[in-house]
Subunit: 274 residues, 2 copies
């Protein structure tokens, strides 16, 4: 019976398409596992919603994934990780992992003076989740969290180069540089597509190299540990299947494919109405 | 019996808070009418959704307003006007007005060469609704519609001045100027807050003064005509009551107050869960 359970897929949940960066990292690390991705792109962005609305959305989405008999859930969305992770973890009977603690842990590893900057959505910033996660890991460390609501639409628009995104990035980084941060966490799955620009602007503004961290890889590290501890690995030998479920069909999959690092239209993509 | 019906409120529906500019215009013109505004800000922006999703949202919202016994409905949202107006009009038993035809009509009045530019959300642009509305009014006229997805978050962020919004505005206007437009319709209720900048950038880029049109006032003109034709005016003499219903409570009402032109927290604001 226990083994049957191991043949369920790993679930990855995001408010939209940005979590495909996390799906890709999970697929790279677990090529034999079946994966099912739920992107609630009909209601993206979550980052401007109230906490109760985010919790309601997260419950509805987790319930879809539960229907696919997942054995573990990675919440790729920072906003959901910030506002609904505890509720999901309490209500669901499979393990649930978020992206906030892993990102903060990684930042502490590379930071000398423990002054951690975070760019995030408005809802994540307001939640205080990064401050709490940091305090739990190192009470001496300081978090400086800056909401950056323009970055998601910039990425969605595909404006990743040039003066306009640079100006927005600079505007968001300036107060963090004033706080003399020595590591920066990208607190939203959309931001890694701007990582190179963020990194160069941060270096230019602060006059030194400051590490910029994406939570996808550290979140996968947590998943590796979970899969080992709970002995959840599949016993099959064939390549795992990847299934992508969206709550709204996008007009084109260009941005999704950029997040995923491959042509998403060649994957198994279906829509669900929530 | 008929007169009782006249004591119902006028409904104004928008995907978020931007439609408060239309509510304000309606309140100014009809001070004795009760008004009820429904802002679906839990699911804003509609502009990036698929047509079916917008229709589903519009049905749910119209149903809330129907519960308030409205006698007429103004759809302030361009995206809903573009994608769901016909469905609403067919399914509801009170008259439904949109903002696209009025905006286009106004543009034709001030344009000499009938080359009408439109800035709009992605969904409105894709819908072809502006092109159809223009063709219906003047088959010789030409529409040039440009999706401008960054403008809504810029307004929500409150970045209404300075180089960053100017650069975004210029980027969106440039192709319209190349088409030598001689009138510009602001095809989203958020854009009027950027109207001054859009107007000055458009003049700078095109080397001449080009009229920039907001659909709120022409939409109210349509409502005036409807109220007269159908004899829907209230017979009460006391000031009308304004009620604002939102699907999510915003953290602060600064932007809402800017749209409404007065402190929204002093109005009757309630939340509904859809």
């Amino acid at each position: 019976m226990l083994k049957l359970r191991n043949e369920g897929p790993i679930g990855v949940y995001d408010s939209g398409l940005g979590g495909l960066t996390v799906l890709r990292a999970v697929a790279d690390r677990f090529p034999r596992e079946d994966l099912v991705y739920l992107g609630d792109n009909a209601r993206v962005p979550y980052g401007t919603r109230s906490p109760q609305t985010v919790v309601n959305y997260a419950r509805a989405c987790a319930s879809v994934l539960r229907g696919h008999h997942i054995k573990a859930l990675v919440v790729a969305c920072n906003t959901v990780s910030a506002l609904a992770l505890q509720v999901l973890d309490a209500e669901l009977f499979f393990p649930v992992l978020g992206v906030i603690a892993p990102g903060v842990r990684e930042a502490l590893l590379v930071s000398d003076r423990k002054r951690i900057g975070v760019l995030a959505t408005s809802a994540t910033a307001r939640s205080g989740a990064y401050e709490r996660a940091l305090a739990a890991l190192d009470p001496q460390a300081q978090a400086f969290v800056r909401p950056a609501p323009l970055l998601v639409p910039l990425v969605d628009e595909g404006w990743l180069d040039g003066e306009l995104p640079r100006m927005a990035v600079r505007k968001y980084l300036a107060p963090l540089v004033e706080h003399d941060i020595d590591a920066l966490v990208l607190g939203c799955t959309h931001y890694p597509l701007l990582a190179a620009m963020i990194s160069s602007e941060l270096a230019a503004l602060s006059g030194k190299s400051v590490p910029v961290l994406d939570s996808a890889q550290p979140a996968v590290d947590d998943l590796v540990q979970l899969m080992e501890t709970r002995q959840l690995a599949t016993e099959r030998d064939d390549p795992g299947k990847v299934r992508i479920i969206l709550t709204d069909m996008p007009y084109d999959f260009a941005i999704a494919s950029r997040f995923m690092g491959q042509d998403v239209t060649k994957l198994n993509v279906t829509a669900v109405d929530l």
